[in-house]
């Protein structure tokens, strides 16, 4: 029997919401890792029982967790207690939580600083993993987007992580600067038709594309205009909030920028604004319908100074034409006194027919729609602030 597993990361733990294909009745399991921030959880397309989670804390740093049974049990994919951490040659055997920037002159880039808030150069400092993107074909291969912005990869199921230093080592790297939420790499998109093509996005550097499996990268920000930076059409410096694509059409990208909703029809070579009639084009997540690549969703937020919906009304906006023409979806969502935020990784779709849409709020609600967004219902209402939502379709 098919069904859905919704993976919810919150400020105080992880929750797993499961339902059958009707998606009417839900079981809520959690919290897992109670008291820890769960920035992201994602299941692997190659094995639906394999789930990775980013667990972090201002006290204890970064932990990577892995489940091989659909989230029933978890372990750190390193070593068992008592096993040596180094080989006889002194090489690290498994260090599942270790994310160290590659600055070696042979494999890495000797880049050690980026631009700080005051314009000075600042050392790169690892803080946490924001996003985990499993390979489309290999459950042991996962990409991790981290703060301070860099891309890491494991090919051994999370036991060890190595940086793909070509991204951070791009000549523009020393110009990258943190956004208000930190300098985070939050978006990783894998092209299902071209295993060598990867997209990534960084706040507040912009979008990047690799056509050689992550070895080298180019900024893809032509057409973005950010009035808050000295050169609004600069090659880098744009605060991209999220990028989405439909797997059937990976050259078409949709972007929620800090302000502006954007579209690219040429794999990011150029972008056009498609904000159209949105009440405000500030926001964080953006999603594409599972079965109609021209139907997209955003959740407008009033402004960068006021991180809540305009007029206290929580509205998802849908465009069936890939942007420009938007309609408000309000049924089942609070239309007064609502002042929650929806963070960049907190919206997801499943691939059942009709496809399910899900988003979580900083007020702890997780909403779902199974009619293309025409109506919404809360699955849960009182979780800790929701940081991320991912949907796994179980067939």
């Amino acid at each position: 029997m098919s069904g859905v597993r919704v993976l919810v990361g919150t400020r105080k733990g992880a929750f797993i919401l499961t339902s059958d294909e009707k998606r009417e009745r839900w079981d809520v399991e959690g919290p897992q890792f109670g008291g820890w921030e769960i920035y992201h959880m994602k299941g692997t397309p190659a094995d639906s029982n394999r789930i990775y989670a980013s667990q972090s804390s201002g006290f204890f740093g970064q932990i990577i967790q892995r489940s091989d049974d659909g989230g029933e049990t978890w372990h750190q994919p390193g070593l068992k207690p008592g096993e040596p951490t180094k080989s006889e040659l002194g090489l690290p055997l498994a260090e599942s939580n270790k994310f160290v920037y590659d600055t070696s002159p042979t494999t890495g880039k000797p880049l050690t600083t980026h631009q700080w808030y005051d314009g000075t150069q600042h050392p790169w400092e690892f803080k946490r993993v924001w996003h985990l993107e499993p390979s489309l074909t290999d459950p042991d291969t996962v990409y991790a987007g981290v703060e301070d912005a860099a891309l890491f990869r494991t090919i051994d199921g999370g036991k060890t992580w190595l940086e793909l230093p070509g991204l951070r080592g791009h000549p523009s790297g020393s110009q990258w600067a943190p956004g208000a939420g930190g300098m985070c790499l939050h978006t990783i998109l894998l092209d299902p038709t071209n295993p060598k093509r990867i997209y990534s996005a960084i706040s507040a550097a912009g979008a990047f594309r690799s056509d050689d499996a992550g070895a080298s990268w180019k900024p893809i920000n032509r057409g973005l205009l950010s009035k808050y930076i000295p050169k609004p059409d600069a090659e880098v410096g744009h605060c991209v909030h999220k990028i989405a694509m439909h797997p059937s059409r990976p050259n078409v990208l949709f972007m929620q920028k800090h302000w502006d909703v954007m579209r690219s029809n040429d794999a990011g070579e150029s972008w056009q604004e498609v904000s159209g009639n949105l009440p405000t084009d500030f926001g964080f997540p953006i999603a594409v319908h599972a079965h109609d690549p021209e139907t997209i969703y955003v959740i407008p937020i009033k402004s960068d100074a006021e991180h809540y919906p305009p007029d206290g009304k929580l509205r998802v906006y849908r465009s069936r034409k890939g942007g420009n023409e938007w309609e408000a979806l309000t049924k089942g969502l609070p239309q007064r006194d609502c002042y929650v935020d929806i963070l960049r990784d907190a919206m997801a779709v499943d691939t059942l027919d009709p496809c399910g849409l899900y988003f979580g709020t900083t007020g702890g609600q997780v909403y779902r729609s199974i009619d293309d967004g025409d109506s919404w219902n809360p699955i849960v209402r009182d979780l800790p602030p929701v940081v991320s939502v991912e949907a796994q379709t179980l067939l």
């Binding site: 201002g58 006290f59 204890f60 932990i63 207690p81 951490t85 599942s96």
Partner: protein
């Protein structure tokens, strides 16, 4: 034998109840104790001190014998009662956040 008491979150990560008992080769210092702890419990690597710099994480403190040892050199000998196992070495998660 050195006794170490960890904060609850780290006990969960390491899947242990109560105190940890460690045999230290050589002198008992903050560095040697945490080295031994990370060897026995590799899942704790990076949680008490940074992976790269080996500096204590900002919101953790080291206490023993009613003294705050957090800002002492990591190579300073631990107090005698800790070396003999009479008193534990405590890793404390700071009370912070208002």
């Amino acid at each position: 034998m050195i006794r170490v008491i960890l904060p609850p979150h780290l006990r969960v990560l390491a899947q242990i109840d109560g105190e940890v008992e460690l045999e230290i080769k050589g002198q008992a210092t903050q560095r040697s104790v945490i080295d031994a702890l990370e060897t026995s419990y590799p899942m704790l690597s990076g949680t008490i001190r940074d992976h790269t710099t080996k500096k204590r994480r900002a919101f953790l403190r080291f206490y023993a014998c009613q003294e705050d040892l957090s800002n002492e050199s990591p190579d300073t000998l631990l107090p005698k009662p800790v070396q003999t196992g009479e008193e534990p070495f405590l890793v404390i998660a700071a009370v912070a956040g208002g």
